[in-house]
Subunit: 433 residues, 2 copies
């Protein structure tokens, strides 16, 4: 493609890019329809010109639900070798995206090797890296400095960046008028808030949004508009603070697109089941159908240790209602930086939630996968079941840890297996199974 | 209470039983309303006169969602000591019900000690026990023999029994006209089907339904009308076979209630998300608002090893739409008899799904639990968080396995903790946190 154009600029000129072709092929869709949807901003294809080994993915309306894997070091745990193992796991399990959320020390080397290694879409939150990259305390950082960090990430080849540009003075005023139980739980959002209060300035990314877009446009980085005010507990769901910020993000979607930048919007957070659909619908209207990227939502606060499940429930419901992109949550949420097992559990839970939503949304190709599994079950074809399973290695090891007496069955029912009983009875009746 | 009456008979005479008082207190509801709902058959209180240490629970419309734990031995794994450990685990984790699904050898001794030990509602599937109890091959068992097995379970004190009375000749004809991918996956249903085909007889529980009810009425056992035709894969969901049987079960609900027997109805199975609400609504209309007891539903077939999660998604959605009782599913579903860890994972997943639905349905008392957890989080009160968590021991061990440098935080964010940053900033602003 013409490397001067972003995907949305190309689409508006009716140019079908190589990335659009890839997305169309993977999704069993017409390239022209993909191109039209990108032009409208309903689909984004995050693809930094510098991420040369990227396998392009589309995120948005009518496409299969995508999943993201967070990893990266923290101040307490900064073993990059461990993080590279998680990258390998994410790639092997076919995660669509990886976000490097490293927030301690010099992060460029890991980010660069991540971009070089992984065909997944790579995302970052430049704000996390500001203090480490600039080597200054928060209060000495200028708005220009923040843009420099974004520029560095852009050059390094990341495909999308989370920018908390919506937490403006006006949004903060709205929030502080209403009592919240957990205030801000967004890491990037909390840093912007602290910086605004220390310096007395407006949100730097909001104030300098056009300059920001200029950087993003140059590399075709998709802006992922972060939700600093996402609810961190059921009490705070869908409240004034959250929705005021979402109104603000809707304005910024339009401004980004006017600047030739692809935009998506990040969403909650902790939300009870009965509010999830409303959250998706209101995002789609306020943000002009920009793709919606949700973290969970977690449908209850009371299950630390099992938040990959509270998030899988919310994610499946959200994606069924129209969310396009699920950020995984691991069992270690609220407790610690995830280890490799937590990452694996989180990926599997999010993948099955995304696929369950794709079934419900009748995404082309989704149903065939389940059909194949059901046929394998009816035939007791265990190898085929493990081949088709989201995590065949785990399933196989569970079966093999408890071998049945009669080959073919499992120890749940053994001789009493319903499928076996019925297959035999139908055969006796002269019916094909 | 007058031990000659079942709960539904007492309710029809406007008698508020001790069990109704217990349910009203636990559920923050008016005893009169509980009594009225029991009279209408919208709430059941499974409570065998012989289960003397039972803590009574109500199952039905307007009440909190209940959960059931399956356990029991199979031909391949018949270690009763292991099963008693699972009972202990279920009771410690406050499961509302335990079903003993033992299907090999003489099961009475375990069943009796389960009833004596556990305050949970105890359920069984007498059909599983028929061959072992009667010491005859399936083809030699008579309809009367089947009723003898039910009588034995009734005397032993079980509070509810699953009876697959709805798989009649007519339902089988409907099924065989349409191709199914997985035919019958119900263990009890498959045995009835095989017996009907071997003997040429009608379903014995359907044909002798009034005699069956006489046994159940005597002890006040709730009948749980089993769904032999529940879909075992996404392909087969909500099909002719399933819904024909459900029509049949609706007729049997009325006949049971006319006989003074409390009735609930069992439901699927494997169902895609977009069909779950319809399944609940149609059960409620066809079965006259009898409580609905669902197994999952599992929202995709492709995740063996993670079916506690596919079921938690379906269960949360089902209970939000009106399902009253969730049967847990463990990670070992489709693979093996669950071990103790599988049971723990299954209970936790089902509990959080049930609670998420209770939040969504605004069940009295549900929201307060999450509020307390959010307050504990805002105060970094880890002991309180673990006290409130569904599985505090697991959460604590995960945190302690990765101790942070700064006490109070965790290794996910450490110094970068959003809650900490915002609490400090608000304090600097002179605002209370």
């Amino acid at each position: 493609m013409d490397s001067d154009l972003t995907q949305i600029e190309a689409a508006r000129k009716h140019i079908i890019t190589a990335e659009m072709q890839t997305v169309a092929r993977d999704e069993h869709r017409d390239p022209q329809w993909i191109c039209d949807s990108v032009a409208l901003g309903r689909i984004v294809i995050p693809a930094n010109h510098n991420h040369t080994n990227l396998h392009a993915h589309g995120v948005g309306e009518g496409l299969s639900t995508k999943i993201n894997v967070n990893l990266g070091v923290s101040g307490d745990q900064h073993n990059y070798a461990n993080e590279m193992k998680k990258v390998e796991l994410a790639d092997n399990m076919h995660a669509d995206a990886i976000m490097d959320l490293s927030n301690c020390g010099k992060t460029s080397r890991f980010r660069t090797s991540l971009v070089q290694t992984s065909p997944a879409m790579i995302g970052t939150v430049p704000m996390y890296d500001a203090i480490g990259y600039l080597e200054k305390p928060l209060e000495d950082i200028s708005a220009d400095d923040f843009l420099d960090v974004v520029r560095k990430h852009a050059e390094d080849g990341v495909d999308f960046v989370t920018i908390h540009a919506g937490i403006t003075r006006a949004v903060i005023d709205t929030w502080l008028k209403e009592k919240r139980t957990l205030n801000i739980v967004s890491r990037g959002g909390s840093l912007i808030f602290a910086w605004m209060k220390i310096t007395g300035n407006e949100n730097p990314f909001y104030e300098h949004f056009d300059e920001l877009c200029e950087i993003l446009r140059k590399y075709d980085i998709t802006i992922s508009l972060g939700d600093a005010m996402r609810p961190g507990c059921i009490d705070d769901a869908t409240d004034q603070a959250q929705i005021s910020e979402l109104v603000q993000l809707g304005e910024l979607v339009t401004r980004a697109q006017e600047n030739g930048v692809q935009a998506m919007v990040e969403g909650p957070g902790h939300v009870p089941i009965d509010q999830i659909e409303a959250n998706i619908k209101v995002e789609k209207t306020l943000c002009h159908h920009a793709p919606f990227y949700v973290l969970g939502p977690l449908v209850t606060d009371v299950a630390p240790g099992y938040d990959h499940i509270t998030a899988a429930i919310g994610g499946a419901i959200a994606a069924t209602a129209g969310a396009d992109f699920l950020c995984y949550v691991t069992p270690s949420e609220h407790l610690r930086l995830p280890d490799a097992q937590d990452v694996r559990d989180g990926i599997a839970a999010t993948q099955l939630a995304a696929h369950a939503a794709d079934l419900a949304k009748h995404v082309p190709g989704a149903k065939e996968w389940d059909h194949k599994m059901a046929v394998a079950r009816s035939q007791f074809d265990w190898d085929r079941m493990f081949e088709l399973a989201i995590d065949g290695d785990k399933a196989r090891s569970m079966l093999e840890a408890a071998p049945p007496q009669e080959e073919g069955t499992c120890t749940m029912c053994g001789q009493m297996c319903a499928v076996k009983t019925v297959n035999e009875t139908l055969k006796r009746m002269g019916l094909t199974v």
